[in-house]
């Protein structure tokens, strides 16, 4: 790996970038020093308050309620996977909505000097994978609410740690600051500053009102998953047996919200066609029994994902491959060539483990189904085991007379 580390040694921050950041840091330091001097001079330790802000906000709110509301179509009942038309670009669309009446309401660029809302797109509704921004015209009203919330931030301890993670998928951006709206009502700035719900109520209300007017899609809720007619994963696997469709519907419709967030990778998406003609798409993870829709997490099980994934055709082959891999690995580490033989193709090597197999602890059996393309369609399984350090036994599988066998294997340390 020395070639690799040497390559990374050559990757350094460009000089112009370093100079730019250094200038920004020095500017920030001067601002902080100036602020400290002002606070000392006027002896005003409490956060700056602007009593007129609430009155101004009330007036602005009253005026804005009387103006025309910009709508982007009807509220969707579900979400769809992106179509070819969507991926060519344009504002987010859902199955039941038309194009926005004023496309400029949502943009793909933001003005750093203005408060804006950033909507986390998902593959479920957005065109492509980009963020979308909404810049309210009434910046003064938004800034008032923003500063009121920020003033509260300084009343918290130095690190108001966010123990859980449950994002709404909506961010408030201003200059270089990110504030993420959490499902518990708080806002979080991604570096351990959190403002509790009761202290950012006005700001949050304005954000949700804007999101509502923009027609940002709501998450799919478990109770909406009724009458599943078909289910397909993005990797082509499907549920076709009626009993299995019923089981899938039961699992998903009985899901419960996950308020602590789900720190897993979502690698699959599941498209469900419902009896009312609508289509919903959920993100699934192989790592945990959770699904995701528009930044909201739901749990369908408590231990593993097998109960759901086993409903899809093709699951049984994966289980077979894992079983063969584990049985072969045990025989390999035991140095038992006779036990290994049934699992090997004719061309496979015949080598046994040279170390002390009794000290080996099998840690993980992982089948790399997502890489079928890069491995010419042949599954590759890695078994992780621990001796004094992690070592990996990798096996390449091939089908021989309808049985999965190992065509090649090797240790990687």
């Amino acid at each position: 790996m020395s070639r690799y580390t040497q390559a990374y040694d050559r990757l350094t921050m460009p000089e112009d970038c370093a100079q730019r950041i250094e200038k920004a840091l020095k500017r920030q330091m001067r601002q902080q020093q100036g602020q400290a001097r002002r606070q000392t001079a006027i002896q005003r330790p409490e956060p700056r308050r602007r009593p007129w802000a609430a009155a101004a906000a009330l007036v602005c709110l009253t005026l804005s309620l009387g103006t025309a509301v910009l709508l982007l179509g009807t509220r969707p009942t579900g979400t769809t996977a992106p179509t070819d038309a969507q991926t060519t670009g344009g504002p987010p669309q859902t199955q039941a909505t038309a194009a926005p009446t004023e496309p400029a309401d949502l943009t793909q660029e933001r003005d750093r000097e203005k408060i804006c809302l950033q909507f986390q797109p998902t593959v479920l509704v957005s065109a492509g994978d980009d963020f979308w921004y909404y810049t309210p015209q009434d910046q003064e009203r938004w800034m008032a609410a923003y500063e009121e919330a920020m003033a509260k931030a300084y009343e918290y301890p130095a690190e108001n740690i966010v123990d859980s993670y449950s994002s709404s998928g909506i961010f408030l951006r201003y200059q270089d600051v990110w504030w993420e709206l959490m499902t518990d009502g708080s806002i979080y700035d991604l570096s351990n500053w959190k403002i509790e719900a009761q202290d950012c109520g006005l700001l949050r209300e304005m954000v949700m009102e804007a999101a509502d007017k923009l027609g940002v899609a709501e998450p799919v809720r478990p109770e909406q998953i009724r009458g599943v007619r078909s289910a397909a994963l993005n990797n082509g696997r499907q549920v076709t047996e009626p009993d299995n469709l019923t089981k899938l519907e039961s699992l998903l419709s009985a899901s419960t919200p996950v308020y602590g967030g789900a720190l897993v990778w979502f690698t699959d998406y599941l498209t469900l066609e419902l009896e009312d003609g609508s289509t919903v798409t959920l993100a699934l993870s192989e790592e945990a029994p959770v699904w995701l829709s528009e930044g909201t997490f739901y749990r369908y099980g408590w231990s593993d994902t097998e109960e759901l994934y086993a409903l899809f055709e093709g699951a049984s082959e994966e289980e077979t491959i894992k079983t063969v891999a584990e049985s072969f690995a045990r025989a390999y580490f035991a140095g038992d060539l006779e036990a290994m033989e049934p699992y090997l193709t004719a061309q496979a090597p015949r080598e046994v483990y040279q170390g002390d197999g009794s000290r080996v602890v099998l840690e993980n059996v992982q089948i790399h189904g997502e890489d079928l393309e890069s491995f010419d369609g042949m599954p590759v399984v890695t078994v992780t085991f621990l001796e004094d350090h992690y070592v990996y036994l990798t096996m390449e599988f091939a089908k021989e007379e309808d049985a999965w066998k190992i065509a090649f294997y090797g240790l990687e340390g």
Binding site: T5, A7, Y390
Partner: protein, 148 residues
Amino acid sequence: MDVLYLFHRYKDDVYRLAVSYIHNVQEAEDVCQTVFLKLMEQKHIQPGKEKAWLMQATVNQCRSLLRSSWWKRTVALEESAGIPQTPEDETLQVVMALPAKYRVVIYLHYYERYTAAEIGKLLKIPVSTVTTRLSRGRRLLRAELKEV
């Protein structure tokens, strides 16, 4: 806490991690600026833990950018603007062509010398996932580098 000192000391580490993660030089530069500005807002970081804080903040910042990109396929090298195209950097080009989930753990393990457990904690993924990605990433890298 001398932020400028920490900047000059760790800017390359933060930059490399950001580039490894999001595979885009312009966005990586923005991430670096945001991370060091956030460092300025920290009242106190335990001495000796500054680098760990910076790495975690970089990961957090990159993840927030990438949350919409979980299904994004690997960007073609010519689109990942700014990665040097000189012959001396062919290895880097191969590395950057790996999917993000592999190149990040490979970078953290082999370059930054994090253990699998530390990487799991940093990226908030199970250790078994880390080891799996290390294994797969090495395999892909080895296969690709043979041809370079």
